[in-house]
């Protein structure tokens, strides 16, 4: 194990950033720490705080060491500050400063821009934990409960990562922003989270899986672009966060897959061929495929909104400044400056959808969203294979980007999932077919009964193919505290 990547445990906060020698930041972080612990304790129900959860903790950042599994009480989880190892001689990968040595300190000129990006990213991390706070009580298995908590503690650690950047590099202003990350709260009337999708509740486990598949994938794309940052500490932070984010998407993809699997199996066992025979399917205690599609529609479209306006000044500024790159910037073969390049952007012209070449700099969001769509379609294809394997005629699809949007050129326009513009009345009459309605929500909620015996699973979801850390099927992932 290289020396650089070892984690210091000589302060309250595990880290590989030399915290013990950086008294100023250590003091700031230690001051922030109690507020964080309070936030955590207020959030997660008491019985789970006392439970022993089989969690993965990062003890170093090299490929072998970052995932050590053991039973931990969540409040004692070692949230730390871990940056991917410094790459010697790293240069700014894009924009007008391309080729210059990467910044190790915040360039004064870009302070506000950088700080805003970090605050927005930081705001999403605790947001999702807040959205998912009640799900522990209805977990379909200890395995799933453990996954939920793993996602939660890692989002917590991602918050730490952003707070570290704010406190280390942004002075008093940064410290205040770090405090505000704990003050805002998902869905709060007092101080809501900054982005809409993080103020929607996650009411049930299918939503949780969809969220981790679709919304955390937006997080992944954002982190991928921030990992390309010319501001090296941010790049290193995000690179390490990405290793953890992958697990969240695994939870999402396998979660949805297991729900689909179970539905198909039950349909087959009971001789139901028509996936639209919803009444019959629901009576068997599983979620019908059309309803799963509705959930998909909702979470996918909410996640598309997170990419912002198709044509965006902020995104252009951030790219040109070298603060935020594109997805896989290092693999792209253009000039990485985009001074004269164009990129096709969907626009609305007289209510018709057209592709228009726009200056590529201003279309950075759109490009990332296109990358996202490609990335998100992979899992959907695998879900469809599951369905096909059971011989059921049904395909999950990603709806058209114009459907159910609140941000961008399609915002609030009555498009159907195929991208046809409807009349307002027509849309309102049909929208119940495309998005979950109250009855759908009630039905799914009725299935959400906890299943807390090791190795047992709720009837609406299949067991996983393999256990976490290769544990056997009846492994007790969470030792519940029964007080």
């Amino acid at each position: 194990m290289a020396e650089l990547v070892n984690v210091e445990y000589d302060t309250l906060i595990p880290n590989n950033v030399g915290l013990s020698k950086d008294r100023r930041v250590q003091k700031a972080l230690e001051k922030w720490h109690p507020g964080y612990i309070n936030w955590w304790n207020d959030l997660i129900p008491r019985e789970f705080q006392e439970s022993l959860v089989y969690l993965r903790t990062a003890v170093s950042v090299d490929p072998k060491g970052w995932a050590k599994f053991d039973y931990v009480k969540m409040p004692e989880y070692r949230w730390g500050i871990l940056l991917a190892p410094e790459v010697e001689g790293r240069t700014i990968p894009c924009g007008e400063h391309m080729g210059d040595p990467a910044w190790q300190e915040v360039p004064g000129e870009y302070r506000a821009l950088l700080q805003r990006l970090i605050v927005i990213q930081g705001d999403t991390e605790p947001g999702s934990v807040e959205q998912q706070r009640f799900l522990g009580k209805t977990a379909p298995s200890l395995y799933d409960m453990r996954n939920l908590f793993q996602v939660n503690v890692e989002e917590g650690r991602h918050l730490w990562a952003m707070v570290y950047l704010l406190q280390k590099y942004f002075g008093r202003n940064g410290r205040e922003e770090a405090d505000d990350l704990l003050r805002r709260s998902s869905g709060s009337e007092e101080a809501p989270r900054m982005l809409g999708a993080f103020n929607e509740e996650t009411p049930d486990w299918l939503s949780f899986f969809m969220f981790t598949y679709f919304t955390d994938r937006d997080g992944k794309m954002q982190l991928e672009s921030l990992a390309q940052s010319g501001f090296d500490p941010m790049s290193r932070t995000c690179r390490f966060m990405l290793t953890e984010e992958a697990h969240h998407m695994f939870v999402g993809e396998t979660g949805v897959g297991r729900v689909i699997e179970r539905t198909c199996q039950v349909m087959k066992d009971n001789g139901i061929e028509d996936p639209y025979d919803i009444h019959k399917i629901r009576a068997l205690g599983v979620i019908d495929l059309p309803t799963i599609q509705k959930k998909l529609n909702m979470h996918y479209t909410l996640s598309l909104d997170l990419f912002g306006q198709e044509v965006s000044t902020n995104a252009a500024n951030a790219f040109n400044a070298g603060i935020k790159g594109r997805y896989m910037e290092h693999r792209l073969t253009d000039d990485h400056k985009l001074t004269d390049a164009t990129y096709p952007v969907t626009q609305l012209e007289n209510d018709a959808i057209v592709l228009k070449d726009m200056p590529a700099l201003t279309a950075v969001n759109m490009r990332l969203r296109d990358d996202y769509r490609r990335d998100a379609s992979g899992g959907v294809g695998r879900w469809n294979k599951l369905i096909a394997k059971h011989g059921i005629q049904f395909e999950m699809i990603l709806p058209h980007e114009s459907f159910n949007r609140e941000i961008g050129v399609f915002a609030k326009k009555p498009f159907d999932p195929d991208g046809n513009l409807l009349g307002e009345t027509d849309y309102n009459e049909q929208v119940g077919k495309w998005l979950p309605n109250k009855a759908d929500g009630d039905f799914i909620a009725s299935l959400m009964v906890p299943c807390t015996e090791p190795g047992e699973y709720a009837g609406w979801i299949s067991p996983p193919k393999i256990g976490i850390d290769n544990k056997p099927g009846d492994f007790e992932y969470v030792k519940l505290h029964m007080a």
Partner: protein
């Protein structure tokens, strides 16, 4: 930008604002239609505004006074989530010719001043309820309100990010109101005006940038109850009923001339001269207040003011090459005096009379503030009496006919001063036009006052210093022609600068500072390559590329 800009609108046509009335409180909700830009080439995202948005606001503010005198508090708020207002649209500014930017800023400033004064003048207080980002011109909208309330939701902030973001200055009095009105400490103001992200929460109040910072859950309730309290204090138990402001009577001809019921605008394109001829009333003033109210917007005093105001705006925006504006009048001086007297006699007891007077104050200021060579020709048959005589003191020069003119049987030219010239229509420097005129010889104001209500012919008027020159039949035509030709030959820029310098002597007020600094600094910066050059910040805004600056300080 060749299309005609029309300043007339009415509530049914609004695209960007909604007004809701509840007793003595009105809600003024900004909900800008992204696709509703006045020109092509930009979208009004994030409640950003262009001239079209401001024309509606000006219309609302004007109607609030006349159509809703019962309103004591107007809560300005956003109809959008997470953004109060992002200020003037930058793409619009980047694409607009210099003259449009200047005219746009001037007009928006006049509107801000109008509702800023509305509380003290009419007991109609504008209150800003800030939820969501409030930046640049958005904060300036709030700054012109009597009070600013901001939610403490952890995100909402107020900001003036023009310098760091756009390399220009806040264009609607932002810097001046921060220091002069809100009296923010200058070093803190320096910090505030240099940071893109602005100031949120308690610090915004500590720094005096807002009046109250309120917990988000209590915000709406607080605003509602504070607005009600202010409205009740302002209006008390009075039951006031407004009048309707109908569409003004106007037709625009192909040759550029514009006809209103009491105003004619004639455009001499070849010589760059616009002549505005004002017609006096056709009949006697209203018998009583009932008649005044039933005449409403048709009463001569109000009808003329609205038409004259529209004519000035039309010239400013649509006739850029009419460098000289000539004012003439035509009518019975007795009737003008009688109409004016009726209104003045009822100012104390009647809200409408009061508002008509205030409207004239604004129209006259609009004329003061118009960057054209302003000239008055006092010809035989004219009626420059009282409020119309104010025009003579607003213009840069006035010429008066003296004695008999051949083949001219109109009544001989005369002017008449009334109480209108001694108080109710201060300029932006808070002095009357006569006080400003006689800054070096204040006794002349007293002398003029001694001649109130008398018809003064040329010799007397000249002696009293009320006109620049008086010419008889022999000289009149040539002198006026030569002057106008000479004026037309000078550099328009130099004239604008000279006239603005000479028009506003005397003390500074917040208003003179706002306009003066807009003219001197903002309009200078708006011309500089650092802002508007091909590589300037304003041109590059939105492209992702940074502005390139010439580092030399000037």
């Amino acid at each position: 930008m060749s299309k005609l800009i029309d300043f007339q609108t009415e509530p049914d046509s609004y695209r960007h604002w909604r007004v809701e009335h509840d007793g003595a409180v009105a809600r003024l909700i900004m909900d800008v239609d992204e696709q509703g830009g006045l020109f092509d080439g930009y979208e009004l995202k994030l409640n950003s505004y262009d001239l079209g948005v401001d024309i509606e606001l000006a219309d609302i503010v004007q109607r609030m006074r006349f159509e809703h005198p019962e309103i004591g508090a107007v809560v300005m708020q956003s109809g959008k989530d997470r953004v109060f207002c992002a200020g003037a649209n930058i793409k619009m500014l980047g694409g607009a010719p210099h003259a449009h930017k200047v005219n746009f800023c001037k007009f928006t400033n006049e509107t801000r001043n109008t509702y800023e004064n509305s509380g003290a003048e009419s007991g109609q207080h504008y209150l800003a309820a800030v939820k969501g980002a409030c930046a640049g011109g958005g904060y300036e909208l709030a700054l012109a309100c009597d009070e600013i309330y901001m939610t403490d939701d952890g995100t909402t902030s107020v900001a003036l990010p023009e310098v760091p973001l756009l390399a220009v200055l806040p264009g609607t009095g932002g810097l001046t109101r921060v220091t002069d009105k809100r009296k923010v400490r200058r070093d803190l103001a320096d910090v505030f005006c240099s940071i893109e992200e602005g100031i949120k929460g308690k610090r915004a109040k500590d720094w005096r940038l807002v009046d109250e910072v309120i917990a988000n859950s209590k915000f709406d309730e607080f605003v509602a109850s504070r607005a009600l309290e202010i409205a009740q204090t302002a209006k008390g138990e009075r039951q006031l009923t407004g009048i309707q402001l109908g569409a003004i009577d106007r037709s625009i001809q192909n040759d550029g001339s514009v006809s209103y019921s009491a105003v004619e605008v004639e455009i001499d394109r070849a010589n760059g001269i616009a002549t505005i001829t004002i017609s006096g009333p056709n009949g006697p003033p209203p018998k009583d207040l009932d008649e005044l109210h039933s005449l409403g917007d048709q009463t001569w005093m109000l009808r003329l003011a609205r038409e004259l105001d529209d004519a000035m705006l039309h010239l400013r925006f649509n006739e850029l090459e009419a460098g000289v504006v000539v004012f003439k009048s035509l009518g019975d001086p007795e009737l003008v005096g009688a109409h004016e007297k009726f209104v003045f006699d009822h100012i104390g007891e009647d809200w409408l009379s009061h508002e008509i007077c205030l409207n004239w104050k604004r129209v006259l200021k609009r004329i003061d503030m118009t960057s054209r060579s302003l000239v008055a020709l006092i010809e035989n048959g004219s009626c420059f009496v009282g409020v119309l005589a104010e025009l003579l003191f607003a213009v840069d020069r006035s010429y008066m006919m003296e004695g008999d003119f051949e083949e001219d049987n109109r009544p001989v030219a005369a002017v008449k001063l009334t109480s209108a010239n001694f108080g109710p229509f201060p300029m932006s420097n808070d002095l009357t036009r006569l006080e400003t005129r006689f800054l070096g010889t204040p006794e002349m104001v007293g002398e003029a006052h001694g001649e109130v209500d008398k018809l003064l012919e040329a010799e007397e008027a000249e002696q009293l210093g009320l006109v620049t020159f008086a010419y008889d039949d022999l000289d009149w035509e040539d002198e006026v022609r030569i002057f106008l030709e000479e004026r037309g030959s000078f550099s328009p820029d130099a004239l604008t600068g000279m006239e603005a310098n000479l028009r506003f002597p005397g003390p500074e007020t917040m208003e003179t500072r706002i306009f003066g600094r807009l003219t001197a600094w903002q309009n200078w910066i708006f011309q500089r390559p650092n802002a508007v050059g091909i590589s300037g910040a304003l041109q590059r805004y939105g492209t992702g590329k940074r502005g390139e600056y010439d580092r030399k300080r000037v």
